[in-house]
């Protein structure tokens, strides 16, 4: 059960790292974190084709950093999920701390003689 969870976490971390390892995608993230942008508006900011920008947005979307919705013919991208993801990562770190504490609890309890000292 924990190994499935570990694999899931690793996959998520991979997607996150991959998505953020690109300069254009980081720039897109900064924009969509400030508010919803249409992909067309975003594309106008970069010296590359609309299709290329759309691909970058798709990578961010796949990593869960961007949410896209459609209104009419426009695709609108927003980045508030990134905040949620960062909290997920932070909780992951906190989890490490707790695993450490519990591991040491186990070691401490293993040292016990059958009659623990009274308080």
């Amino acid at each position: 059960m924990s190994s499935d969870r570990d694999t899931q976490d690793e996959d998520r971390a991979d997607a996150l790292f991959h998505a953020l390892a690109d300069r254009t995608r980081r720039d897109i993230m900064r924009r969509v974190l400030r508010g919803e942008h249409s992909v067309t508006t975003l594309a106008a900011k970069y010296d590359m084709s609309f299709a290329a920008v759309q691909k970058h947005v798709a990578v961010l979307e796949k990593a869960g950093l961007v949410i896209k919705r459609r209104t009419g013919r426009e695709q609108l991208a927003s980045g508030d999920v990134a905040a949620v993801r960062s909290v997920a990562s932070m909780l992951g770190e906190l989890e490490d701390v707790w695993r450490g504490r519990i591991g040491r609890m186990d070691e401490l309890l293993a040292l016990d003689t059958p009659a623990p000292p009274t308080l």
Binding site: M29, S86, S89, M90, L91, E93, L94, V97, I102, L108
Partner: protein, 161 residues
């Protein structure tokens, strides 16, 4: 591995850890009730804890500091809210100055530790909640905890940029 479940609750910034120990409930509670045992498990190996004052009773305080690899000290306190020995206790964990006066600028975490009998041993459920995501980040940034990863910093930079 004694950790049997980890449940992060992103919306509420809560982490719930369930662990099973091969020891009676009383024995597990005693780790927290005994300052010398508590300091062996509270700080990460890189930041061992020293418990200075220990009053694990409602309204009581447990004052401690952790010592980093460079000798830097991080002071903190538990504000004990309730105790139901040996079934558990609840407290706020706050940062303090070196006289154990609470630093209101730093995040406080709410903690509930619950111990129950389970298959001849003890099941422990640890719930830790931060008021804000920023608070959680701030705690991690302080280096009090081990293993701060580049991922967090990357995202943080993004959010700030």
């Amino acid at each position: 591995m004694p950790v049997t479940d980890v449940t992060p609750d992103i919306d509420n910034r809560t982490l719930t850890i369930t662990a099973d120990f091969a020891a009676p409930v009383e024995r597990v509670f005693q780790v927290y009730a005994d300052p010398r045992q508590l300091e062996r498990i509270w700080g990460p190996p890189t930041h061992p804890a020293t418990v200075v004052d220990h009053d694990l009773n409602p309204g009581g305080r447990v004052n401690y500091f952790m010592t980093g690899p460079e000798g830097e000290k991080f002071y903190g306190t538990w504000l004990v809210e309730s105790v139901d020995a040996p079934k558990g206790f609840a407290f706020d964990d706050a940062f303090t100055d070196d006289a154990f006066a609470i630093n209101a600028d730093l995040p406080v975490s709410k903690n509930v530790f619950a111990f129950s009998e389970y298959q001849g041993g003890t099941r422990a459920v640890y719930t830790s909640t931060y008021a804000t995501a920023e608070g959680l980040q701030q705690v991690l940034d302080m280096g009090v905890v081990e293993g701060a990863s580049g991922a967090i910093n990357q995202i943080d930079t993004l959010l700030a940029g």
